[in-house]
């Protein structure tokens, strides 16, 4: 082949090759690869991880999914049958993961580590790794530390190595949330020696290493990761903390266009997709070609919030007028296509659970009357803000609310805030009227209310709502829960829900659904509090 290839010859040959190869293969999978397809799960979603360590600075939600599947925690949750028969994590029942025994005492909990559990590099998991990992979670700052604090896990001194296989976690105070907080994504167990080896004086916890490398003992390992394109995870065949998963390989591709994600599913090329618009899910559900699982967000709801520190929303009657002027049913039909749990028009007093429906309904006459009693017979002007990051739901929702409010004289200008700016705007607490979603990892009403209604004014008390009575009820419920006083707990929970509906600083609209569409031959989906996929339970074929 010493022939000199000139430009013309080259062009000719490439053109010939192009012609000879003809049009493309009809599908993603070529027949030779059918076998591996049976053991491979192809997941498509809009966005991928930016960091595969949940302790990292600014790790995004897709990053949590990698962490969940590649790291073990001491304990995890059992499954129960949830809404619509979907396997749903059981808030109250724990199962061992890295620990094979858990012993809860009065002011501490002791874990015995599973024998034979190894990190991906083969080093055994020891109590020292557990302590180092929990120390890291409470020390690195930012989100992980914040999440640990929610369960009164604040100081490294709380984590004690008893012997090589035993760890004790001491309680700072009695808190019902301490044990559940050890089963969330954050308290993952890291290979301390491996991470320390890759740490630098500037980065004592090795965050730069774990950002792109897994140092865990979990059921899957990341074998390839191209940010913004794909993540490939392979099963860890030596996984000791549970039954060996059925799926050998997970290929997770980022497909930004929602239309294409749907096309991939309908053509049978992709196995699982989430993050589709509600309309697509509703249509896929009706067509019956795929299995579509819709599960209500645990401990979450979308709401319309009002800033109670400034007129006109500092006036209770104005807030009630707005609550009577929301086209609730229309939102359920035209925005959600039925994929949500209504949270309005309750006829009985609310039970001691959350989220629950309030008694307001669309009643424009009543709304007008309340508005004139409040001293605004001709209405007023205000702005209605929403997060463009979730425009598929937020935009039609706000237009419907705008139309309806106009009928009682409240003229609203819609203010679209870009995703990057939304949190800044929320933190400023100056938006008069806005819609937002909040959902808590820990599924307890007092947890939700502590973040959203308590006078300590957290980021999520977006209304700047202050009420000593509310604070007393929330604190009361937390104390009652810690002491196991059920009667007092129920009374306080009912009390704060009732107060939230009477004072109505925020109007719950609906409980959103977490929707996942799968091929018929894919099963084993489980709903988790973090709403991401747990690959370990999936089965194909």
């Amino acid at each position: 082949m010493a022939r000199h290839l000139d430009r013309r010859g080259f062009l000719k040959s490439t053109a010939a090759t192009a012609l000879a190869t003809g049009v493309a293969a009809p599908a993603v999978w070529s027949p030779a690869k059918a076998q591996s397809r049976q053991e491979t799960l192809l997941v498509v979603s809009e966005s991928g991880p930016n960091n595969i360590d949940i302790h990292g600075v600014g790790t995004n939600v897709p990053g949590y999914e990698v962490s969940w599947n590649c790291y073990d925690r001491l304990i995890s949750h059992e499954m129960k049958s949830g809404p619509g028969g979907v396997p749903y994590y059981d808030r109250d029942k724990f199962k061992p993961e890295l620990a094979d025994d858990m012993n809860i005492g009065d002011m501490s909990v002791t874990f015995r580590l599973r024998k034979g559990a190894k990190f991906h590099d083969g080093t055994p998991v020891t109590a020292k790794d557990v302590k180092w990992s929990l120390d890291r979670a409470v020390t690195v700052g930012g989100f992980p530390t914040f999440q640990m604090k929610a369960g009164s896990l604040e100081k490294p001194e709380q984590f004690v190595v008893v012997d090589d296989n035993t760890v004790r976690v001491d309680f700072l105070r009695k808190d019902k949330l301490t044990v559940p907080d050890l089963a969330v994504i954050v308290p993952a167990i890291y290979n301390s020696e491996l991470v320390k080896k890759n740490a630098t004086p500037d980065d004592p916890w090795g965050l730069n290493y774990t950002k792109q490398n897994i140092a865990g003992s979990g059921a899957y390992k990341v074998s390839r990761w191209t940010p913004g394109t794909e993540v490939v995870l392979d099963r860890n065949d030596d996984w000791a903390s549970g039954p060996l998963p059925k799926i050998k390989r997970v290929i997770w591709r980022m497909v930004p266009s929602a239309g294409n994600r749907r096309a991939l599913l309908e053509r049978g090329d992709a196995d699982v997709s989430y993050e589709l618009p509600n309309k697509d899910f509703a249509e896929l559900k009706d067509s019956g070609k795929l299995s579509v699982v819709s599960t209500p967000f645990s401990n979450g709801c979308q709401y319309l919030g009002m800033n109670v520190t400034k007129p006109p929303f500092d006036n209770l009657k104005v807030r009630q007028a707005v609550a009577y002027a929301i086209p609730y049913q229309k939102i359920m039909d035209a925005v959600l296509y039925g994929l949500g749990t209504p949270l309005f028009g309750a006829t009985a007093p609310p039970p001691a659970a959350w989220p629950v429906a309030h008694a307001y309904n669309l009643d424009l006459a009543k709304a007008r009357q309340l508005l004139s009693e409040a001293g605004y017979p001709n209405g007023f002007e205000t702005t209605l803000s929403f997060d463009l990051g979730f425009a598929v739901v937020n935009e039609p929702l706000c237009v419907l609310i705008q139309e309806s409010l106009a009928q009682i004289g409240i003229k609203t200008t819609i203010n679209k805030v870009t995703g990057a700016n939304w949190r800044t705007e929320l933190n400023k607490k100056v938006m008069p009227l806005y819609t937002n979603v909040f959902s808590g990892w820990l599924d307890y009403p007092e947890y939700f209310f502590f973040w959203c209604y308590h006078g300590s004014n957290s980021v999520f008390n977006t209304m700047s709502y202050q009420s000593p009575q509310m604070d007393a009820l929330i604190d009361g419920a937390r104390t009652a829960a810690a002491n196991g006083d059920n009667a007092a707990y129920e009374k306080d929970v009912k009390g704060f829900i009732d107060l939230a509906f009477t004072d109505i600083p925020r109007i719950p609209l609906f409980q959103p659904y977490s929707n996942v569409a799968m091929q018929k031959n894919v099963s084993g989906y489980q709903y988790w509090f973090h709403r991401r996929l747990d690959y370990r339970s999936f089965v194909k074929g």
Binding site: T21, A24, F143, Q147, T418, G419
Partner: protein
């Protein structure tokens, strides 16, 4: 020649400095707070402050600028917060993806638009002239994402002759050894025809989508400049001397009409490279356009600055290349700095 190139590059330096300063300032005045975005949905103000400190965003603007420039000099464009990788690596892997797509799209557009424009000019007022006009109008007026989605719908979803729009290669194929970063070329070099076929199948639809969009300016400019040349005196002389019509059109008219076409081509290329974001989104193509837009949405400064800088450098290089081409096509054109 070398002197000319050197001179041209020297004049580009002030504009590059300008680009560095302006992008730095622009990214800082963008609405959106990086720290609160990356602190996550459940962050306290205190946690946001911690993140801000970790990201070095608590320092004063001049301080941030000095550190940015000193890193830049060492070839370090910073690290993207959204993908967690150094911007230089990201750009290096994503630029070939965009360039391959854009070049192929442009090549297809050229192969259709130039003959179409020439025939339209030669047979002015004929059906081919009208066809040229219709194609051009349709090409510009159809938004790329729309053409792209229609193509995916027809060729993938309905007919099933095109592969799934999943980026540069199908899920099971592995990329060819990295030489140029262009999968088509790398696969050929490695004599890996299966990968070549897979890559070609993936790139066809997005490239055609881009071609449809860039047909219009090229066809219109070719036609207009051919018309101008065809009515000039030297063509009349050539025709009067009894030269073959094909020689008149191709050798004499077209060569002289090429200058404006080349200029347009350069513009279309640099425009497409940055503007094919929508095509990249539709076909899940891992290019630089979608990378920059995602970074912008997340207030992630480093990739945005890196992207603008890269584009500025490319722009300078392309313009330089075109100016040099001028000299080759038409020796009368002197390239002056």
């Amino acid at each position: 020649m070398l002197r000319t190139i050197g001179k041209r590059i020297a004049t580009a330096i002030p504009s590059l400095i300008g680009v560095i300063v302006v992008t730095f300032l622009l990214t800082r005045v963008l609405p959106g707070d990086t720290a609160s975005f990356f602190a996550g949905p459940a962050a306290t103000p205190q946690a946001i402050e911690e993140v801000r400190k970790q990201l070095g965003l608590d320092r004063s603007l001049p301080e941030q600028f000095v550190s940015y420039v000193s890193h830049l000099v060492r070839g370090d464009l910073g690290t993207s917060l959204t993908t967690g990788r150094p911007v230089v690596t990201e750009l290096a892997t994503r630029l070939p993806a965009s360039a391959e797509l854009t070049l192929l799209g442009l090549l297809i557009a050229l192969l259709i638009a130039v003959p179409l424009g020439i025939i339209a000019a030669v047979r002015q007022g004929s059906w081919i002239d009208h066809l040229c006009r219709i194609v051009a109008t349709a090409g510009v007026s159809l938004p790329v994402f729309f053409t792209g989605l229609i193509f995916v719908y027809v060729f993938y979803f309905i007919l099933g002759i095109s592969p799934a729009p999943l980026g540069r290669l199908d899920v099971f194929a592995s990329p060819p050894p990295d030489i140029t970063g262009f999968y088509l070329i790398d696969a050929l070099i490695a004599r890996d025809f299966e990968t070549f076929r897979a890559a070609l199948a993936q790139i066809t639809l997005p490239a055609v989508t881009l071609a449809v969009f860039s047909l219009a300016p090229i066809a219109r400019i070719t036609r207009a400049s051919m018309l101008a040349v065809l009515s000039s005196e030297f063509i009349r002389t050539a025709r009067a001397s009894g030269l073959k019509p094909s020689t008149v059109v191709m050798t004499y008219a077209f060569r002289n009409a090429m200058l404006p076409v080349i200029t347009t081509l350069g513009m279309v290329f640099s425009f497409l490279l940055g503007a094919n974001v929508l095509v990249e989104k539709v076909f899940a193509w891992p290019g630089i356009g979608s990378y920059a837009v995602e970074a912008l949405i997340a207030s992630d400064f480093a990739p945005v600055q890196g992207f603008v800088l890269t584009m500025a450098v490319l722009y300078v290089l392309i313009n330089l290349g075109i100016d040099l081409l001028y000299g080759i096509i038409d020796p009368r054109v002197k390239v002056e700095a």
